[in-house]
Symmetry: D2
Subunit: 336 residues, 4 copies
């Protein structure tokens, strides 16, 4: 039994973590911090959560004695708290982008801030268990991957070294990916019966994709990433296009290759059919398939995840399970 706390517990990822951790048989939830809801009960802020507890303001004292802290702050606002907690002896799963890039100088380019803790940048483990399970199990600090990179990387890792030229990643995400703060763009009337691309060149998640794909391929692979906003609450479908160096072998053979690559993975399902968002909704699974379009000289990979689960809070718990030696799917077996 370990104790866990959540910093920034009233965004979507924090609320989902609250739900998952409150039912995890090896975890006792200790502290939930919030900026906007201090003193409010969990049940009052999220009537669908049947969890006891009250939000408190963040302070090191409130977090004292916690084994592991999940930090759910926006990028550029998390690293200070993360460093403070690590220095105080906690383990941290950081759901922000503040430790995902391995090059400390890259933060200025992509996120507009100079990173003050390059030591922790170097130490942090990129929390994609399918790629870094061993490192995760020994980590003090997990940089939990972005939602888009999770779906994209799981779709390209099996073929990273086989990509001729670059990769085109056309992703479609539900609105919860934009966070809980209401804006013109997340107003119901702006989204329903509508669809659009956004951040159509240079979305920040591109940096993670490029970094991890290069590490997997052994050389730089250009990534053209385009996110779109779906009129759904949850889920990301990524349609990924590449040309294989090794030639065309038929869809079935690609599927076999992917199955072999992921055969031990508890949360990756390679299927024959083209998966829909609903198949992974409220689960920690990533489901995918591959199709060869030989006529056009292209292989297509389709991956689906729930952006809040495998793309954020579920993966964070998967990482925690890995860090503490719990079964990797503990607390993640049923719908979440």
């Amino acid at each position: 039994m370990i104790t866990a706390s959540i910093v920034g517990a009233t965004g979507y990822t924090g609320a989902l973590l609250t739900d998952i951790l409150s039912q995890h048989s090896e975890v006792r939830l200790q502290t939930l911090t919030s900026k906007s809801y201090v003193g409010r009960a969990v049940r009052d802020v999220f009537p669908y959560l049947r969890v006891d507890g009250t939000y408190v303001e963040y302070s090191p004292a409130e977090l004292e004695g916690t084994d592991v802290v999940f930090v759910c702050y926006p990028h550029a606002q998390a690293h200070g708290v993360v460093a403070e907690l690590i220095d105080a002896g906690c383990k941290v799963v950081d759901l922000s982008a503040d430790f995902r890039l391995t090059d400390p100088l890259a933060y200025e380019d992509w996120y507009g801030f100079e990173h003050p803790r390059s030591d922790l940048v170097v130490e942090a483990v990129y929390g994609l268990p399918e790629a870094y399970r061993a490192q995760v199990s020994r980590a003090r600090l997990i940089a939990n991957p972005g939602c888009y990179p999770t779906g994209m990387l799981l779709g390209v890792l099996p073929v990273a070294a086989d990509i001729d030229g670059g990769v085109i990643v056309d992703s479609k995400s539900g609105v919860s990916g934009a966070g809980r703060t209401p804006t013109d763009k997340t107003h119901f009337c702006a989204v329903t019966e509508n669809f659009r691309a956004y951040s159509e060149v240079g979305h920040r998640h591109t940096a993670e994709m490029v970094q991890e794909l290069q590490l997997a391929a052994g050389h730089a692979v250009p990534v053209s990433f385009t996110p779109h906003l779906l009129p759904v609450e949850r889920g990301i479908l990524s349609t990924i296009y590449f040309k294989p160096r090794s030639g065309f072998i038929g869809s079935e053979a690609w599927i076999e290759k992917y199955r072999a690559f992921y055969k031990e993975e508890p949360f990756v399902e390679v299927c024959e059919h083209v998966p829909a968002l609903s198949e992974v909704n409220r689960t920690n699974f990533c489901r995918m398939t591959v199709r060869e379009d030989e006529r056009a000289g292209v292989v297509k990979v389709f991956t689906v995840i729930d952006n809040l689960v495998k793309g954020a809070s579920g993966q964070a718990v998967q990482n925690m399970n890995c860090m503490y030696g719990f079964p990797e799917d503990m607390g993640l077996r049923r719908g979440v």
Copy 2:
């Protein structure tokens, strides 16, 4: 003033044509045929249509005296009626795929039937006014383009000869594109909060795209087309990726190039921002923009149309206007 009739008037495209033509100041609606609703009033079948009239069974006698007939049958079921009407002296706008391909032998490959009227296949004009306005104005038989090809072709025609390698077309369509017949795939519960690809290799509309792009480019250009099903009623957004032969010139310069290409077009709007479906919903406009992703070596074009309007019935009326010398936007100025 001309008379117009609709064969197969009780699908989505037929119902929308009924609405548009009933308010067109140079058209008198003559005959509406249906297989399933013979004897039923228009207002009864479509309570939102405030149009008089009753559906009759198709017969040449019912169509006699009509100047122009819009045929809204499924592919492989239209060509017989179309030929009969043409032979009887009507002009025809065929909304099916039965005359879109210029090679009479291609129908067997793509649509599974041997075409009995290669004379009409050769005569038919592909009804994309932006590409074939002069021919449309003189045509007896219009092959009204498919919804996906309309959005795709308008997005690539300005650069057809400048494409290095192939084109990737990632399209997302509303459910009305699947037609009015209820199926497991169009059940509300199968679509809401969901998203998926379908016909993920070799969708039939690929044939039109390849044919018309080759004609515009002067040589064959591979097209990898992937349609997806959006949880919306109407609209298609196509994200199109290609590598330019001429090199990278910046997004602004691409936009200028597209604006110059379409400067006389009443229904094409090249804009700075990335357009959303809602901007063309219930209109005959195609709106688009271009973005250069030089880092990844790719140019992206985003086009949006309403699949039932510019992608079907609106474009059919635009063609009719062109055939009869009416202002091209007559009956299509307001929301439809």
Copy 3:
């Protein structure tokens, strides 16, 4: 040809008025004011509007020379501007609640402010043309009805004097009724796949309903009104329950009674079937039917309107048409 201006033109009702008036053949749009978008082009703020013009800050000088001004401010914020404009010689259609109640003292109870202009409160005409056409045609100041009262009153006026006891009004509205300002309650993720009641006792529109029903009945009739929030953009369906004094006569007879009452009305349609929101979406129609549930001792009336059209901007234009002697459906014939 008259000139019209819109004060507060960048909310939903202002944007829709801009669309309708820009295509009205007897109107020239003069001035569009905004608080948040001064200096911005209409096309820039609302990409789906194909209307020229730029928003300016409100000032009497900008409005000078306008024949009629549509005021689209929130309640309690409109009356000052309305009074200023009336005093300057304009006619005004006020879409706020600030002149809807006939009793100047009622504003304190229902809206929390003391009304400074009881002279105008007394002069203002409640702009429901079906009830007050003659007065509207002579009015300087129209208090455009609330969206819920419009759907409710059209449903009960034919039987106002025949109601035994009170009326129960169970209304369900689209999200656009809550306005364009993004809030927690209008966030896409809070609305999609969800449904709830709100302001479940004492919603302010109750005051209008009670006032107008009393005037029509000749005596006070209790109204229990409950609004609910639908996961749709537009439309209000009201299910209205009452017990008739005159006894039970069968659904058909009630429908006949309603048809007789509304037989001259251009925008009221009494139908046999139970109408759906989609039948009036983007139109100025109110469609309704009646059902008798004799077993339970209740008559049910179902009315549907588009809350932004017949419930706001369309009705405002209908009132303007009436004030200036234009055909009442001018500018309102097609979808809006």
Copy 4:
């Protein structure tokens, strides 16, 4: 550990039962029957279900040895199978309407068939544990309540004897309530951005409501029930109106009364706020609150359930738990 089987396992309620029972720690799923999917794997028909097994055709032999059978056939088609299973010694939870009415003659009026087994009609227990827990625990045959009656009855049972006159029940349901068979009415394009009433007088569920309310009140109470179709997948919100005999006591006092009535219930939550569908989505809870509208002389009760869970399959499992002495929330604690 008991064995359970599902007859008619490929509708929505059967699929959800499959999901719940496959994770129930005291149940082993034995047989799943289907008419349309014989020989198909569960995972193939419902890709989101991660359950082993294959559908077989119904036959008594396939069901032999099962302790309890859940019958998910439509009304009028279930009673034959139910009788056969009971006669063979199984316990049965029947999700159809075929044993809900206590008067054997009532089936002809409400469902159009003469009931052949009045002995079982008399024996069957109406499976609303909140009303009949003791009887359920001893039952061989459970008539699982309809979805609408469940939400309605839980909302009126605490005040059954206090209702002056009749009850008005205005219910709004998600589309899954209409079943999995695709029809014109459940087509995505017919539902999205739409809303309507249906079966607007005399819906069959009225019979259950009237029967059970009379039993609770000790005398007949008229019920006027009106269902509406929401553009959501799941959930029923019922707004219930009545006049109390005992007079007006304030909303707080009503809430207290309801809390006292339900204080031992594991699945009824009486709350202060007006509950939304999302609060009970994918759970077996019924959440409710009460508001007094003294000005209008009415008390309003708002109840929400998930129509597929507490309104069908979840309640069926709750009944099974009760029949076998398992904790009543076993298998129903997490989202389902």
